[in-house]
């Protein structure tokens, strides 16, 4: 699949190119793109030209290139992420109006949590989640909820690799993490104080899809010193049930009722 000296296919290089753009680098010159991607200059120009033609890339007023609106459109239009987000948003607004700090919706992708929606200003609280941003599974409440409801093979995969200790309270010992996962399954939520930044606590609950598997985690981030974090749980639970139902989930009543207090 590669005509190139480096052995990369066009698709591979296409991904390299769009990966060079993120929230801190939304536009750049072609030459800079070439440097960032490590692609040969000529090749970069040729590829960018074609992508501009197809409108997957665009030029901004200054002549720099950026991701095209068409790219966003095509990727969003048919994606299940959009459906999930749309189902969740109204309920997330409810949560946000009560909790006031920051509300996020995350899914598992590859070996990390990918946040697909986030409400709440960045200023009110220390919360490093971003839409379309990633965080490690073991150090986030969302991640742990999702992991708790994943196949054991996946759990093994995550827990067997070296885990970063972000703060004093980050658990990195596989055995301790497994105990925590069991606890999360039993209680129906994850509460993790200061595991990624010391100032904040995350609380997360699972969201179910129509096939009754866990498809996402709904979470809030609150200041760590807040008195009664557990008081947030019912709010989250209620919202998560609403989202699940909107996704076509037809509740397993007992389990959920047991969990709700």
């Amino acid at each position: 699949m590669a005509n190139s000296a480096s052995g990369e296919s066009i698709i591979r290089r296409f991904i390299t190119i769009i990966s060079a753009f993120d929230d801190k680098h939304t536009s750049m010159s072609v030459a800079e793109l070439g440097r960032r991607t490590g692609l040969p200059v000529t090749t970069t120009y040729r590829l960018v030209d074609e992508l501009l033609l197809e409108r997957l890339l665009e030029r901004d007023p200054k002549g720099n290139i950026q991701l095209g609106t068409r790219m966003w459109e095509l990727a969003s239009r048919g994606s299940k992420t959009l459906g999930l987000r749309e189902a969740a948003l109204p309920f997330m607004e409810d949560v946000q109006s009560v909790v006031q700090h920051s509300t996020t919706l995350g899914v598992l992708d590859s070996d990390e949590v990918l946040y697909i929606e986030r409400l709440g200003s960045t200023s009110t609280i220390v919360d490093i989640t971003k839409i379309a941003g990633r965080l490690p599974v073991h150090a986030t409440s969302s991640g742990m909820v999702l992991l708790a409801h994943s196949p054991s093979a996946y759990q093994d995969m995550i827990l067997s690799r070296p885990l970063t200790k972000y703060t004093e309270t980050t658990l990195t010992d596989p055995a301790a993490l497994r105990r925590h996962l069991a606890e999360i399954r039993q209680r129906g939520f994850a509460a993790m104080p200061g595991v990624i930044v010391p100032e904040s606590s995350g609380i997360a609950v699972p969201v179910y899809g129509s096939d009754s598997t866990v498809v996402a985690a709904l979470s809030v981030v609150v200041p760590r010193d807040e008195e009664n974090t557990a008081a947030r749980v019912p709010v989250l639970m209620t919202a998560a049930r609403g989202i699940s139902r909107a996704l076509g989930w037809r509740g397993k009543l007992k389990g959920t009722l047991r969990q709700s207090h």
Copy 2:
């Protein structure tokens, strides 16, 4: 740029493939994808294989393929759409809480309006806008607001092509549309009753970017028989100013004050 008999490049075919997915077709078999795209069978399988490998496509539990979460992530992460959406969402919620029907944010892309955000349930009102969906410029309030603030070359391009008459009230005469555009510029908003579906009215106002150009249109769709649609305008204006300011716009006060009633 093409090795193929049809003269299409890989990038072109890649676009053909992801374009085959939309909100009504989120997953399908490879063979069906081949049929939908018109690509040779073998080629479809080969291409899909590579895209699965790169995780731009994914298999669902049934073995069908769908757009990968990675695709959404890469396209969202670096896109200006995300920034616009994030700036707008809080203000859109305000509008939605007052107007109660449906609130949308649209941009001009190619020769249509592309909606990048939408609040409000689909059930309360007849409103065919969808997130990542498109509608024609001349038949939407958002489109007309955006067109009113576009370069005249662009206006000419739009107005010189055949325009679909959706309902009795859809304007399709270029001269009449130009008069309407002038009116929109002067008043600062567009109000269009039943131009695309007879039951609904759209009202839209411009959103400014940091360079004081119009970057988006904020709009609400309300039942057409609602008494005083003009009463919605100040709400929209206020929200649009808020969004503009969040985008770094440093108001041209007179213009906007004049427009506000």
